[in-house]
């Protein structure tokens, strides 16, 4: 059954009009006809079943037949702040995989040693949207615009805050530290790691140093490892 991402639909709506692009896709490409069943997700937990009431190529009308709210609601909150990789493919892979595994929020942080100083979130958001449709998730992870490390560090976060880095020193691990069912934020640095000054600033701002295992991981692999660990520990 085909799935549409329609963030503007509300659970109370008895019917819904697909926009021009989606109507054309439904009627001309998918060749859906009167009575065909489709699904809609609103990105806020709503999963809707609908039937085509009018297969108009510019303004398809859907009759909503069922609504599930809080579909697949997650039992914990995970925010990963990652330094965008020089090669955007790697960042896109991370966003797709993290969305499949489970994530609530992603921030892009520009660090002292970042090779990439900016990343356009419009295209990155499309990767996330495709991933939620493909993996049938009704919640759309939030992607924040790039921000400097210093600005990000100063933002408040109600939960556990961790910074994963490769400098020597005492580090905690999630298996022992993570509070299940809570809010967790993990910062992942660029390929050259966070600078000692950045690590220091993070620790001064309530972040705890974190290890993600013994292997030397690329930025996007470390970010996904953190995502795996938090989701796995929260099962």
């Amino acid at each position: 059954m085909h799935l549409f991402y329609t963030p503007d639909i509300q659970p109370s709506h008895p019917q819904y009009f697909l926009n021009e692009e989606e109507s054309k896709h439904a009627v001309r490409v998918l060749r859906l006809e009167l009575g065909a069943e489709v699904q809609l997700i609103d990105g806020r937990g709503g999963l809707y079943t609908a039937q085509i009431k009018d297969a108009h190529p510019k303004r398809t009308i859907l009759q909503i037949t069922n609504v599930i709210t809080a579909y697949g609601k997650r039992n914990h909150y995970l925010h990963i702040a990652i330094a965008p990789t020089k090669n955007l493919d790697r960042l896109e892979w991370f966003l797709e995989k993290a969305t499949e595994i489970g994530i609530d929020e992603i921030s892009l942080i520009i660090c002292q040693r970042s090779e990439r100083k900016e990343a356009k979130t419009e295209r990155l958001n499309k990767i996330i949207t495709s991933a939620i449709k493909q993996s049938l998730k009704a919640y759309h992870p939030v992607l924040n615009e790039g921000i400097s490390f210093n600005k990000f560090i100063a933002k408040s976060f109600d939960g556990q805050k961790f910074i994963a880095h490769c400098e020597p020193g005492v580090k905690l691990n999630l298996k022992e530290e993570l509070r299940h069912g809570g809010n967790c934020l993990v910062m992942i640095g660029p390929e050259g790691d966070f600078s000692p000054a950045e690590i220091s600033l993070a620790l001064d701002n309530g972040y705890k140093a974190l290890t993600l295992g013994e292997s030397r991981l690329r930025t996007e692999t470390a970010a996904l490892e953190a995502c795996f660990e938090v989701n796995f520990l929260n099962r």
Copy 2:
């Protein structure tokens, strides 16, 4: 320090001759000179430190100054059998990430519903080799040539065997089942899943049905999830 992958070196060798391609790379590209220090990995656990004795662009001579055997030896054995994805990028991504996280052996299995019936291992092996160099691992995961599901299922494996599938039914999970420090084999099917006949055949051959969580995962994501879980549980 630059790292070379030299599978033909032995721990007993007092010196080593780089081949033509690597000599040219060392001398013309990296511009290494007499006395420069480099590292070598042999793919079987050996991590060697060496000094350049003769910076010849076709036949660089290295003096071995230190040998570590069993560098980063893993404390468990993981074999993942994965149906090659239609899009080879996805399979390559999995090989790179699994190598970073930790894996011993990968088999390519051609299933009833596989969209890709073959995959050239030469290029795939290069992905793995790059990944061990980048993540400083001295063991080179083994990649086996494509084989049909039925032929693979009949092969013996001394350890726990799991098949991850999406059909309904009772499934075990690694958190409870995995014997730490042992040998583990996980089969991951194509995008269309294993067929009921394949699942049946696997169960008849000592495989146990496995769940990798509640999310609907792509083939390569499921394979990496399995890789992550086994490594994490063995820490």
